[in-house]
Symmetry: C2
Subunit: 433 residues, 2 copies
C-alpha cells in the first residue's frame, strides 16, 4: 500500500476530537477508500490535560497551532479552531503558503477569506477543502461543486441553520413562543448562550455566501447577504401560516438576477413561508437541507444532520480521503481568476407572494385604512385572517398575490405614521415552489 | 488552457442526445470547471438520418460503436447504448482494455459486470464512472462513494424507480387501481409498453446492487436481490395504509446482517409501508431519493429527478468533468481486490412490523381462524381494519407488532388451505424509521 497520508489536527473541540474518533474507529476502511492509511501525526489544543474521550497518546502534541504549518512530517493541516481571523487564519495561510493541504470546518474563515485562500492553494499546488463548513455532515459542497458540475445553477437555497430550524419546529409542534423555546434550546445545548449568531441569520449567511460563489462562479460576497433572523416570529405567525397551508423556515437563498452584463447576485437569509408541498416544509428539528436547481439536473435536494460532532467530523474526513486520493479540484469549482466580481442585486423589483402580519387597534376603520394603503401600492390580497388578541387589539395576517417587494415597502411606509398599527409589522416572503 | 478532453458518444437516444445538448449549451462553464474544454470528437447511433434535436454536423460519425474503442483521437468513450451484453459490453471492455476512460449510464451493464469492468479499468489506469446508472440526475454515487467516505455505512435504501413511484403516487392521490394508473402512465410515456422491468422491481434491483457494493465494499450480487414488485397492490391497500398513517413506496434496501465472519449481505426490493414522519413518504411522482445511514454522518438523504434525458445527461457530464480533471477514484470506492464476496443473508430471522391484507369470505369464524393462526405463529396485531367489499367477501388489513418474517410465512402457511381466504394475501414490511 502507498505511503500514509499524514495529518496534523489543530483544535480538539467536539469536531476536532470527532475527527480523531472517525480515524481511529474507521481507519481500516479509510485506508481502503483512500488507497493509503490516514495517519494522525500531531494534534493541538489549548489545554493538553483535558479529557476529550479519545486516546491522544500516540500523537505529537503541538503547543502553538501556527507551528503546524511549518512541520515537514505532515501532508495536511486540519483546521478545527474556528473564527475568521487570528490563529485559524494564520495557520491556514501558513499551511497553504508552504504547500500543505488544508481541510477546515470553519465557515466564517471561508466566507470571509475563501477566495484569497483558494488563490494561495492554487499557487502552491495544495488542496483547500471545506465540506464541513456548510450543512455539517451533508456532502453538499461536493454535490454542488462536482455532482452538479454539468449545470448552470439557477437557484440555490435551503435550511442552513439547525438551531433556527429546531426552534421553528418546536414552536410549530408545541404552539409556544420564540423566547420560551429559545430558553429550552439553550438549556439543552441546541442554542448558544449568546444565540444571535444563529438566530439573526449570520451563520446561515456564511454558508449561503460560500454556496453562492461555488454555484455561480462569483467572488465571495458575505457582506452582500441581506439578513433577517427569527426573533420576531410569533406563535401566532406559525399558526396563521399553518392555517394557510405553509410552514415557516429560515431560508438562505441565492440566485443570479439578470443576464450577461446586467447580471447581479441576489443573496438573502430570511424566514419564509414554505408550502407544505415543498420538501423543505418537511425538514424538522436540527436537520439541514439544501436545494439546487440546475438547467439540466432540475431540482436536487441534499438533506441530513447540519451540525453535531459526528456528522461534521464525517464531512472533514471525507475531505481528507479525497485529498489523500489526490482529488482536490478547485475550491470554488473553477480557477479563482475565473470567479466574477458581481454587483449586488437590488431587491425592490423582485416579485413574490408576501405574508404580512400586523397587530392593530381594534377599532372601526383600521382594516379600511390598511386595505387602502395596499390598493394605492397596487398590492392585492389572496387571503386574510383577522383575530382578536386581547382587549383593544387584533391581529391581521394575510398572504398577498405576487407583487413587487417595493410595493410592500410602500404600503408599510404609508401606514408607518398610523396609530392603528401597534408595533412593527412582520413581513415574510413566500418561497416559490 | 490545457488540452481539450476528447470524447466519443456511442448511442444517441434521449440521454445520449442530452449529453450533446449539455456540452453545447454549457460548454464554456464546463471548460472552467474541468480546467479544459470538453470536446465531442465522434458520435454513433444506428440511424444517421434521424433528427435528434441537436446539431451533430461537427462530429465524426462512427457506424460501428465498437470501433470507438480503438480510436486514437478520443480520451473517453461515453456509452449510452444500454443493455448488459452485446455492443455496450464489447465497447466498454474494448475501451477500458485500451486505456480509455469510460462513462456509462447503463445500470444493467454495471450491475452484471461492474467489478470485472472496474478491474479492467484499474489494470489500464482508466476511469470507469457510472453516476447516471443510479437515480438519474441525483449525484448519489458521488455522495455515497466520496461524500460518505468517512463512514461505515449501516443501511442504504431508497426510492429507485420513478415509474413505480409515479404509479403509487397517482394511486394515492386519485384512489385508482394499479392497472388503470399503469395504462395512463403508458399512454403518457412514463411507463414502457412492457412495464415489467420497472414494476416488478428489476430496474430498482440493478441500482440497489450497485449501491450495496459501493457502500459495503462487497462484490456485486444482483442475483442476490430479493424481488417483489407493485402489481398486486390494490387501491384498498393504499387507502388502508393511509388510514394507519403510512404511504406505500417501492423501496430498495440493503444492509450488512451480522458481523465479521458471520456478515451476510441483505438486499431486497419490495413495496413497503413508510411512516408519514419519514422523508421518503413525501417523495412523490417520478422523483427518486436515496438514504444512507453512516456510523458518523447519521442519515443522509439525496433526492431529485430519477430519470429523464436532461437530469440523466447532467449526471453523465458530471462524470466527464471529474475525469477531465483527473479525478477518478476506484469505481466501487476501493480497489476491486478489496471487495469481499459475501453470503446472502437469510431473511426469516429479520424482524419488522408487517402489513397484511387478505380478502376473506364474509362468514362467521373467519377472523377467529386468522387470529388463531397468528397466535400460533406468535404474531400479535397492532391494528386491524375489516371492511366489507362486496356481497360475500370482506377485506381485512392489519399491521402487526414487530415479529420475525418467518412467523408471517408460518401464519400464511397455516391459512393456505383455508376456504376462508379468497385469493392470495398481500404482505408488505414496514420501513423502520
Amino acid at each position: 500500500m502507498a505511503d500514509p497520508f499524514r495529518i496534523g489536527i489543530a483544535g480538539l473541540g467536539t469536531v476536532g476530537a470527532g475527527v480523531v474518533d472517525v480515524i481511529q474507529k474507521n481507519g481500516a476502511l479509510l485506508a481502503q477508500r483512500a488507497g493509503r492509511p490516514i495517519e494522525i501525526v500531531c494534534v493541538n489544543a489549548r489545554d493538553k490535560a483535558k479529557d476529550r474521550g479519545v486516546d491522544l497518546s500516540g500523537y505529537d502534541w503541538v503547543d502553538q497551532a501556527e507551528d503546524m504549518a511549518a512541520r515537514d512530517d505532515i501532508d495536511a493541516v486540519i483546521e478545527m479552531i474556528g473564527g475568521s481571523e487570528g490563529t485559524a487564519y494564520d495557520l491556514v495561510k501558513g499551511g497553504l503558503g508552504g504547500g500543505k493541504h488544508v481541510v477546515t470546518a470553519n465557515k466564517a474563515l471561508v466566507a470571509h477569506h475563501g477566495v484569497e485562500l483558494a488563490e494561495l492553494a492554487e499557487g502552491n499546488n495544495a488542496g483547500l477543502a471545506y465540506e464541513a463548513a456548510v450543512a455539517g455532515g451533508i456532502p453538499v459542497i461536493k454535490g454542488l461543486r462536482e455532482g452538479a458540475a454539468a449545470n448552470r445553477i439557477e437557484r440555490v437555497y435551503g435550511i442552513l441553520n439547525g438551531t433556527c430550524n429546531y426552534i421553528l419546529s418546536a414552536m410549530e409542534s408545541d404552539g409556544r413562543d420564540f423566547a420560551d423555546v429559545l430558553k429550552d434550546a439553550q438549556d439543552m445545548g441546541y442554542a448558544e448562550a449568546d444565540p444571535s449568531f444563529d438566530i439573526d441569520g449570520v451563520d446561515a449567511a456564511h454558508k449561503l455566501a460560500i454556496m453562492a460563489s461555488l454555484c455561480f462562479g462569483t467572488q465571495l460576497d458575505f457582506e452582500g447577504v441581506e439578513l433577517a433572523g427569527i426573533r420576531k416570529i410569533l406563535a401566532a405567525d406559525i399558526a396563521q401560516a399553518r392555517d394557510l397551508g405553509y410552514r415557516i423556515r429560515l431560508i438562505g437563498h441565492a440566485e443570479i438576477d439578470g443576464e450577461n452584463g446586467d447580471a447581479c447576485l441576489f443573496q438573502r437569509v430570511s424566514p419564509r413561508l414554505v408550502s407544505k408541498q415543498h420538501p423543505l416544509a418537511h425538514v424538522t428539528d436540527a436537520t439541514n437541507a439544501v436545494v439546487a436547481e440546475g438547467n439540466f439536473s432540475g431540482r436536487l435536494l441534499f438533506q441530513g444532520a447540519g451540525a453535531g460532532d459526528k456528522p461534521t467530523a464525517s464531512a472533514v474526513v471525507a475531505d481528507i480521503v479525497d485529498i489523500a486520493r489526490g482529488e482536490m479540484g478547485p475550491a470554488f469549482a473553477m480557477a479563482t481568476g475565473d470567479l466574477q466580481a458581481m454587483q449586488r442585486a437590488p431587491s425592490g423589483h423582485r416579485r413574490s407572494k408576501v405574508y404580512l402580519r400586523m397587530m392593530v387597534a381594534d377599532k372601526p376603520g383600521v382594516l379600511a385604512e390598511i386595505a387602502a394603503a395596499m390598493r394605492d401600492a397596487d398590492v392585492s390580497i389572496e387571503s386574510l385572517i383577522q383575530t382578536e388578541v386581547e382587549d383593544g387589539s387584533a391581529l391581521i395576517a394575510m398572504v398577498t398575490h405576487e407583487c413587487r417587494e417595493q410595493a410592500i415597502t410602500d404600503t408599510l411606509e404609508t401606514l408607518s405614521g398610523s396609530d392603528s398599527l401597534l408595533g412593527e409589522p412582520m413581513v415574510m416572503h413566500l418561497l416559490r415552489d
